[in-house]
Symmetry: C2
Subunit: 288 residues, 2 copies
């Protein structure tokens, strides 16, 4: 007789609910997004939905429209009534007995959580420490998939070193991005805002894209170039870009102080401009 | 209020069962094994348990002993009463609200399924077709983790081409292994059994190890060396090694016939010797 065990408990295989046969668990066969709201307004929802659509398409998940996802996100957001919310959602290819190949027409599983966004004010004021870790991820990091074990291992290593984030370094010794964030450096003399160019090696970060947009009105020139950890510690300012906290200054890199060990001036300007941009997007949303 | 959505259904976050907050689903933060029995005897159980222990250790999952896993496997095997069984089990780091870093002391989740092993007699008699796909996997394929999306994408691509398995090819143009199997070539003239050396690029396959063992009594010399697809199609015989089916001859590679398009003689000898070795291990188990 076909059986299953959940922990120590034996159950008949056919009595297993779909949550135990999720291809998300067996294979990480799914994609996800994290979105946040500021003061009752979801930020950059359409950007996130477009990326979600692309991720689904890249791995061939069908049967869930972006219109339906948008409706569900709004329903959850209304119901939760959290002005500064963090919204996570994923879709997996569906539930069925484990087999690498999925059954034709399998119904995808959608799952979402919504809670309060973390308060990042202290991180913004004091900056955070980061440490490097080898980039062990797969070759399609442009797809926001549920295969996140290398990210977990990197982050857990960073936390052990009392760091907030792991900065991933590829085989050629160059930084790709953070385990859950984009990575930026500022060369104050040359007025350069440096970040790795998009490609299969990094996620097309929505926050990265908006940071580049707010930098355009400053004296900073955006330079898309990979740098090494040795370059990074020589740079004047460093920061992370991540949906839940937007811009977070980095003040220590592999134990070395960056600048004077306090968030840099140009980073602060970008933080302020990002906040202004967020408020503007809310106004244009209201007047739309 | 913190909420979740399962499909279209909104639920309170605190009412979610642990199956919805499994780090296995959020991150693929877990490791697994597949074991089979022949005629009422589990084959190479200790080898699989040793690999499972190593996988757990490599990603730092604690709180589940191998002794306990062994007990659970036997309990399920007895209860299922399937002489030729396929046993799948995984452990994940546990269930908690999503966060890359796991809470200290989190209780791991164990899950197992048992059903009949597939009948591989037709595959063994007629051989199978395979096709190549880029190896997009992470840099620690020696860990048998739940991050299997690249394997799924490769296999789905192969099935679209009416092939049974995808053969993964790395950036340097060399074959690593199958998406769910080890890969072997036989040079009949030089009497060489060729397979890729172990390393972070491939899984330390238990079946591979036993194939090498049974080859030792033949005229074949085991050569651990990476080959290219161009080499493979020039080789006399090819086969896959996988727990559920042991040795499966490959008769077509990227559309090109291998040998005369029928399973090779030396492969057949290895299949027979493998079967003898399995029966011997059962006898030594009974007399132990």
């Amino acid at each position: 007789m076909d059986l299953a065990m959940i922990g120590k408990r034996i159950v008949k295989f056919e009595e297993l609910g779909p949550e135990y046969l999720d291809r998300g668990t067996f294979f990480g066969d799914g994609v996800y997004e994290v979105i946040r709201s500021y003061d009752g307004h979801i930020f950059a929802l359409e950007d996130h939905l477009a990326r979600f659509a692309r991720s689904m398409q890249e791995i061939g998940i069908q049967g869930l429209t972006i219109k339906e996802v948008r409706t569900r996100v709004f329903r959850a957001f209304m119901e939760a009534d959290l002005p500064n919310a963090k919204i996570y959602f994923h879709v997996t290819r569906g539930s069925e007995p484990r087999n690498h190949t999925a059954k034709e027409g399998l119904k995808p599983n959608f799952f979402l959580t919504i809670g309060s966004a973390p308060d990042s004010s202290q991180d913004k004021e004091q900056g955070v420490s980061v440490s490097t870790f080898p980039d062990w991820r797969w070759k399609r990091c442009d797809i926001k998939s549920l295969n996140l074990l290398p990210n977990v291992l990197a982050r857990m290593n960073a936390v052990k070193k009392n760091c907030a984030e792991a900065i991933l370094v590829d085989d050629s010794g160059e930084i790709t991005e953070g385990s859950g964030s984009a990575f930026f450096a500022i060369d104050a003399k040359r007025k350069e805002l440096i970040t790795r160019p998009l490609g299969h090696e990094i996620l097309p970060s929505i926050t990265r894209q908006h940071v580049i947009r707010v930098a355009e009105g400053t004296e900073l020139k955006v330079v898309e170039r990979a740098i090494t950890p040795a370059d990074a510690v020589q740079t004047d300012e460093l920061f992370l870009a991540v949906t839940t906290k937007d811009i977070v200054p980095v003040v220590r890199f592999d134990g070395r102080l960056i600048g004077d060990g306090m968030p840099g001036l140009l980073t602060k300007i970008l933080i302020d401009r990002f906040a202004v941009m967020v408020r503007r997007s809310q106004k244009s949303e209201l007047s739309a």
